[in-house]
């Protein structure tokens, strides 16, 4: 664990990997440390944002010895996201990967995913666990409007667009599952560490 300063009101902790980042994230949340405002996992880091008055040296000294959080880890049931695989880029992904459309779908829905971190827009989870054969670059020119519920891939990640937005990921299908709803608590279906499975569904 390497602890860096991110200004005078945040620490950036390098954990070396995703599993340790999620473990530290959970441990910090469970410890309810005074003065901590936000805890933001990344791919191999956890950012800890504090009140401006917090003692960063003291906080940094406590982080390595936090007790592991109870009841977290990969035991929880995965979230199931039903998908109608009729995305606009399915043919293109089949061509880029040299796999047929059916094989792209089969590989996409047979993997088990974990939310690495959220970003880009509220509720947008970057899911790791994508079959390496499905790694394709983003579109050269992003779409100006991608509908909410679009199931997409880019690079090593899979995702579901939680709300309508511009986007450059390749669209494989769509889901009716609501990923983001500000009237719900929590508003996001996904959070760092959530496990996800995609379940193919026939078009209605």
């Amino acid at each position: 664990m390497r602890i860096l300063r991110a200004g005078d009101a945040a620490l950036l902790v390098e954990t070396g990997g995703l599993t340790d980042a999620h473990r530290l994230d959970a441990a910090i949340r469970a410890a309810r440390l005074p003065g901590v405002v936000d805890v933001v996992p990344g791919e191999r880091t956890v950012l800890v944002v504090t009140e401006p008055s917090a003692d960063l040296d003291r906080l940094a000294a406590r982080l390595p010895d936090l007790p592991p959080p109870p009841g977290t880890g990969p035991d929880a049931e995965p979230v199931e996201i039903p998908v109608v695989y009729d995305g606009e880029d399915l043919g293109e992904v089949a061509a880029l990967t040299g796999l047929g459309r059916e094989e792209v779908v089969r590989r996409h829905c047979s993997a088990s995913y974990t939310v690495a971190y959220l970003g880009f827009s509220p509720g947008f989870g970057y899911l790791t666990g994508l079959d390496p054969a499905l790694r394709v670059p983003r579109r050269a020119s992003p779409r100006t409007a991608v509908p909410a519920g679009s199931v997409a891939i880019a690079g090593p990640y899979a995702a579901v667009y939680p709300s309508p937005s511009p986007g450059g990921w390749r669209l494989l299908g769509r889901s009716e599952r609501v990923l983001w709803d500000v009237t719900r608590d929590p508003p996001s279906l996904l959070r760092p560490g959530t496990r996800v499975r995609f379940v193919p569904e026939a078009a209605p």
Partner: protein
Amino acid sequence: MIEVIRPGPLATVQDLGRPGHAHLGVPRSGAADERALRLANRLVGNPEGAACVEFTLGGATLRFDSPAWIAVTGAPAFLRVDGRGSGAHAPCHVPAGAAVELGTPPSGLRSYLAVRGGLMVGRVLGSRSTDVLSGLGPAALTSGDRLPVGGTEGLDDITVDLAPAPPLPASPVLRILPGPRDDWFGPDAITALTSTPYTVTPETNRVGIRLDGAPLARTREGELSSEGMVTGAVQVPPSGLPIVFLADHPTTGGYPVIGVLASAEVPRAAQLRPGQTVRFRLN
């Protein structure tokens, strides 16, 4: 109720934002110049985090249905209440039916108008702030919008006549702390950042300030894994031209952050307007 007659270039409702949701991809948002928002609220006896209007380069008119106490802080826009001039950084009484006009401030970018009782637009995730990046909160104000004002029972008395406000410098020098990714750059980059002036470009908004000047060269190849970002972060995209993150910045990013503004400097950065120059210093 307050009616927006004209909002100026950009007017939004802001409070202290949505801390605590960054791990879900929700920017903190809130007033870009938090210090000015807090002061405006104190001047009219509000809790410091009450919702205000954040104006960008003034140029706005509001009409008040009911009598109210207001205060304008931040960029010192000339204030006219029912045609009569009034000063910034001071509580000011507005009679029922009066128009409040805000001129273009001679310096600074963002002015805050607090009204005693606070603005009562709906909350989203605990905040009334407009987040221009994620679209959370109310839309930016447009002509004809009507803003409800809260009750004033139980508020502190208005006790201050005028708050001293230091003038905004033409070319501020902002203190920066190196890291967390200063090791992605050579010593030349930190030297360039802290010894040459940068110009604020027109592509500057509540998300961040895009700067033009000496490009900061990376010495490390490859891509940084996406990591959490803080307000005040000086992020360096492949062009080498730094971006300073403000209130609506994305929660995670993959470009290295060479340094972060000291917290106390963020409000000053939020007052930089396009075309202005800025310098950075260590310590």
